[in-house]
Structures are given as C-alpha cells and as structure tokens.
C-alpha cells in the first residue's frame, strides 16, 4: 500500500546573494512497511527532501501526498496537527527535552495528542522496553549515552503511532556498537510491526540494512534500488 507519493518536487533557496536549487524534480513513492535509506553526499539535498516529506519545509514546486492528502495544501496549524498524528521524527542530535526523563520524553507527544495518563504511562514504558531501555525510564537525557538517547528518540517517534518514521542521519553521532544496536531495534520494529522507516544517511551500515536505497545527487534521484 502506497503511503507517500512525491511528484516533481523542487526546492529553491533564495538567499540575498545566491540561489540554491537543492531539490530538482524528484518523483518517488513509498509503500507501507519499507525500510529505506536515502543516501547521497553532503549537500545533495537528502535532508531537504526528508524535511519536505515530513512537512517541516515547503516545496517550491511539486506535490507530496501522504495517505492521499496533499500536505502542501494544509495550513500551518493543520500541518502541525498532521505531523503529530502521522509522522515520527528521529533527528541526528536526538533533540530530547533535557528537563524530562526518558519516559516523560516519550509521553510528551501522547500528551499533545490528548491521550489519557494511564495510556501514556503504559505505552511509554512498553516502548522503552522495546528499545531496550526498560531499566532507564526515569533517567534524564544527560544521564544516558548517545545511543541510549537515540533509542529514546525512536521510542518517542513511535509513541504517536505514526504512519512512517523519518530519521535524518540517526547514526551520525553514534559509535559502532550503538549504531548496530539501534539499527537492530529499528529493523525488528519494521519486520515485526510493519513500521515504515525512511532514513537519510551516509552510513554504510545503515545502507547495508536497508531493503531499498534511493541515491540523490545534486537534488535528483540518480538510483533507486530495491534489494
């Protein structure tokens, strides 16, 4: 089942001195349950592409359909609400809320969704157990390693029951063991719960795990391989 469809996507950044054409006419679609890596050199436009698919950035031209909804037509407040309900994000720098514990970080998005306290509590604990942090639920981010923080970020991304998860270079700040551990967790979630993951990455280990690899260079898709 197709959950994302991107047609003729362009993004041009207009600064006062230079005009940067970051994405130049991408046409792609993603199915439910994919485990896809979007790769390419720095500045190739992969992060911009992911940001537009996540509704964080507006395309200059082209359309993005998620579950048949053209997100470019959504107003800012609707788009925020859409992101909350449909898209999970994992960032390179984890971006956890430092004053909250691991469990509270995971609970926060469910609070925004208006879920009950009991549901939030049970789901946060269950997700943290799934990512192997059942014993660190009350730890604050500064008491966790980089890998553990990124696993909390994955649990947070899953908490809202999104249609897919966008992960922007999720392993860039992690050592080998943490990377392997995180990838195993995400792969298991993908296989066992059919959760769709789309990564932007340079990391060969991520590429190796991915079942589909989309390569972007100079804002264009130069290859799209399914293993």
């Amino acid at each position: 089942m197709k959950i994302i469809e991107v047609t003729n996507l362009h993004k041009i950044y207009n600064s006062s001195e230079v005009k940067v054409h970051a994405v130049r006419g991408i046409d792609l679609s993603f199915e439910q349950g994919e485990f896809t890596a979007v790769v390419g050199p720095s500045g190739s436009g992969k992060t911009t592409f992911l940001n537009m698919m996540g509704g964080l950035d507006n395309p200059t031209e082209g359309k993005i359909f998620i579950d048949g909804i053209n997100i470019g037509e959504l107003k800012s407040s609707k788009l925020t609400d859409f992101r909350m309900k449909n898209i999970g994000f994992v960032f390179q720098a984890y971006n956890l809320i430092p004053v909250l514990t691991a469990k509270e970080n995971v609970e926060f998005i469910m609070h925004l969704q208006g879920r009950s306290k009991n549901e939030r509590n049970e789901r946060a604990i269950s997700l943290l157990e799934q990512v192997g942090l059942g014993d660190r639920i009350n730890s604050r981010p500064n008491k966790l390693s980089g890998g553990q923080q990124q696993r909390v970020a994955v649990a947070r991304a899953l908490a809202s029951k999104p249609k897919f998860i966008l992960a922007d270079e999720p392993t860039a700040n992690l050592d080998s063991d943490s990377t392997a551990n995180l990838l195993d967790i995400m792969e298991n979630l993908n296989r066992e719960e059919n959760i769709t993951f789309i990564f932007s990455t340079h990391d060969a280990r991520v590429v190796k795990k991915a079942r589909r690899v989309v390569t972007i260079e100079d804002g264009k898709v130069v290859s799209d391989l399914t293993k």
Binding site: N51, L56, S77, N95, R156
Partner: protein, 476 residues
C-alpha cells in the same frame, strides 16, 4: 504536563533564573516596602486626625465656623445627644464649648482656641488624655476648679519649658550613634536644670562640638525638656456680654500630639469653668463630636443626620479634613505607579532572560514544533515559563515584605532624629508603623501577573516564529 515542563524549564539554568528571581524579589520588596511605609504614614495621619482632632462626625451651628462666634451654639444639645446615642453605630459622643482667647504667663502669651470639655466623655471620644507627656502632670483631676491642659508647643511659647540633661538623654543620644567620647563632657551638666532652651544649648556648645549639638538637636530637646509644674496661666476672653474677662488657671498637664498646628492653637479646660467665666450656658455647646464603630460609615451616617437635623451643620471627618482623604487617595495612586515603574524596569530584564533561553533552545523548540506541538502550545509554554519566573520572585518578595512589615508594624520606625521637626510641623507622627492592606497584596499580584504576561509576549512570539526545519538544523 505543559505546566510541569514549563516549571522544569525555569530551573534549567538555575543561576540565570535565580538572578532574575532575585531581581524581581528585590524590586518588589523595595516597592512594596515603600508602599507599606507610605500607607503607614497616611493611616497614622488619618487615625491621629480622627482620634485627636476631628472624631468621626462633628455637629455645629451653621454659622459657628465662619468666625467662631460664641453666640452660635447648639440649642437642645442634650436631647440631640441622647437621640443620636440611640443609634447602635454610635460609640461615644461629647460636647464642647469653643471660645477664642489669649493665654498669658509672666514669660509670654499666645492666642488659642479654648475648648471647654467634659473630661469624662471627651476621654471616650478623643485620645488627648493619652498624649500627656510622662511626668508632666495629669488629665483633669476631679472637682478641682480652673485646670488647664496645654500643649508642649504652647508651654514653650509661654516660657514654661525647662531643660535637664538626664541619663535618659545620654542613652537616647548613644542609641542614635552619638560619639561615645563626647558623652563624657556631657556628664558635667547631668541633672542640672536650665531655664531656657537658649541657655541649655549655649552650655552644650561650650562642652561639645557645636556641629554635634546641631546634628542631635532634636534628641537634646526631646529627651531633656521639662515643664514648670502646675504653672499659673491667665486666660483672657470675651464674655457673653462682649466684655473682656479673665481668670487664673493652673496647668494640670502638658500634651503633645504629632500635629504641631493643632497643638499650637488648642488648650482644654473644664466646660463648667469656661461656662462660669464666659457666662454662656453649659448645656448649649458649640461643638458635638461623635465617634462611630467604623470610620468608613461616617460619610453615610453624616448624610442621615443632615436629613434629620437640617438646621445644623453636620460633617464627617472626610468633609472636615478632605486633605486626609486626598493624601490617602493620592498615595494609593502613587503607590501603584511606583510598583508599575519597578515592574516595567524588571520586565526588560525578564524579556532579555527569556530571549536568551529561547536562543539556547532553538533546536529543542524546533523539535517540539516538528513533532506536532502547535504554536498555541509553544506560546503558552514560553508564557508560563515567564510567569513562573516572575511570580516566584514576586511571591518571595511579598513574603519577605510581609515578614518585615509584621515586625516593623509592632516595633515601628523612629524618624525623630531625621525628620522630627519637619514631620511634626505638617501634622505627621515621627514614629512610622508600616502597613500594607490586603488590597495592595492583591493589586500588586495582579500587576505582577500583568507584567509577566506582557514580558512573555515578545519572547513567545519569537519562539513561535521559528521554522522547525531551520531550528532542528541549527547548531545551537
């Protein structure tokens, strides 16, 4: 959860938050203590005006106060008094004869209003009997003829003042930081009496540095002054027939209120003696003073009496001395302006702190927007953080202020040395008991909340304007 996150965010950078909280605390403490001081001064003045000078309601013949002519008295005063007394709102009533005249001694003379009072009922209405200086006589003694109660100011004019440097004077000087070494010289005139202030001060200037005498002048007078006991005074005035008459009176006591203007022009004698001297009828007084249960009801009650007794001039304390009310109202406005200005200055610091906090958290705020926290919630979170930051400082400031006021409202602040003469000249007590009513606590809290909301708007707007894509990309 938003409230909990906002509260936790306040303590993210403890030092920075504490600096702001401390600034708000000090600012509000200073402001609210200033308010309490001014309230204390205004209330003390109102209290002293009511309990020493005016009472809650005064009744006169409509023409009496034009020229204070003794013929304009109140007919059927006894019936009127017993009628008013029936009202449960009325606590006490006294009637007075008021005649202007001259009072003389061999040393001097002065003009004054001679109040013929009933010592017992007067005691129930005014507090003059409590202002008789220690060991300088008594309130009226029973059955003695021609007693007179004069003020310290009048006594000085009549040259009845004497000066004796006592141990009490030296103790007062020392507690006001008078140099210890200079007190040694003063012991040479310990307990020696001087007949005039001039002689006393000449001697002091011989013994110690004249600048010190000047600096501590008020204490030297306040704690050394004595008065000639039971001095004889002659009162001259016009009698019922317009003839000048006079008689000898003996000073029974010397009083001193905080209002020098009142003290200068007022002496008290027994109504019977004044009636006998002037030939006026004791039962037809010139003034009836009424004390009520609650001063705030005086205006309405005066209105009721005016309707009932249209032939008399009936005024409440606020109508007799509108300055008291005007000053209280002016001070209230001034107090709120003072607090508002302090908060406005603090608001800049709060805005700056919150902007710094937002700059530091750009990435986090971007992440929150990315995962679906809408602008309204981000705005509310920043607003809550600002309000918490401000309110914590305000609460601490107001609690500390409450503690200080509670202590000082019992103990008082003695400004005798610094402001003594100036305060007395305008009718204000030099002993200030700061107080701050609940209305101010509520008013200041509302102002603080308003200032906090106002301070939060700009940083919160900045926060919601962040583009989540740019924010999560930033290096901050």
């Amino acid at each position: 959860m938003l409230i909990s996150v906002a509260w936790k965010n306040v303590w993210r950078n403890k030092l920075r938050s504490l600096v702001v909280i401390f600034a708000v605390m000090i600012g509000l403490l200073a402001g609210s203590f200033g308010v309490a001081l001014m309230e204390g001064v205004a209330k003390k003045r109102a209290k002293s005006a009511i309990h020493n000078e005016i009472s809650h309601i005064q009744i006169h013949h409509p023409k009496f106060q034009e020229n204070f002519e003794a013929k304009f008295n109140i007919k059927s005063a006894d019936e009127l008094i017993s009628e008013i007394y029936k009202d449960p709102e009325v606590v006490a009533i006294t009637s007075r004869m008021v005649v202007s005249g001259m009072i003389n001694t061999s040393g001097g003379n002065t003009g004054a209003f001679i109040y013929g009072i009933d010592p017992e009922t007067e005691k129930q209405v005014t507090d003059i009997h409590t202002y008789i200086k220690d060991s300088i006589g008594n309130y009226f003694e029973n059955d003695k003829r021609n007693q007179i109660l004069i003020s310290e100011t009048t006594a000085k004019k009549l040259k009845l003042d004497r000066y004796k440097l006592s141990q009490k004077t030296i103790n007062a000087l020392l507690s006001a930081a008078f140099p210890v070494k200079d007190t040694i010289a003063l012991y040479s005139i310990l307990d020696k009496q001087f007949r005039s202030q001039k002689n006393y001060f000449d001697k002091l200037r011989e013994l110690i540095n004249p600048d010190l005498v000047e600096e501590f002048q008020f204490i030297f007078i306040k704690y050394s002054i004595l008065f000639k006991e039971r001095a004889k005074i002659v009162i001259n005035l016009q009698d019922y027939n317009g003839q000048i008459t006079g008689d000898k009176f003996r000073v029974t006591g010397i009083y001193k209120t905080s209002n020098r203007m009142f003290d200068e022009k007022t002496v008290f004698v027994n109504k019977k003696d004044l009636a006998a001297l002037t030939g006026y009828n004791e039962s037809k007084p010139h003034e009836i003073a009424v004390l009520l249960e609650d001063r705030s009801t005086a205006k309405n009650y005066a209105e009721v009496l005016r309707e009932k007794y249209p032939d008399l001039k009936i005024e409440s304390w606020g109508e007799i001395d509108p300055m008291v009310i005007m000053i209280a109202e002016y001070l209230e406005i001034f107090n709120y302006f003072l607090i508002a200005f302090i908060l406005a200055a603090l608001a800049f610091g709060i805005v700056n702190t919150m902007l710094m906090a937002i700059m530091e958290r750009t990435k986090e705020l971007g992440m929150l927007a990315a995962i679906g926290m809408n602008r309204k919630r981000i705005f509310s979170m920043i607003m809550l953080e600002t309000i918490f930051l401000t309110i914590v400082g305000a609460v601490v400031g107001l609690v500390v202020n409450y503690g200080i006021i509670s202590y000082l409202s019992e103990k008082g602040i003695d400004l005798t040395k610094q402001m003594g003469e100036a305060f007395e000249a305008i009718g204000y007590d030099t002993m200030i008991y700061p107080e701050m009513g609940l209305n101010y606590y509520i008013g200041i809290t509302l102002l603080v909340i308003f200032a906090a909301i106002l301070s939060s708007v700009y940083p919160a707007l900045k926060a919601i304007k962040l583009n989540p894509a740019d924010a999560v990309r930033t290096d901050a």
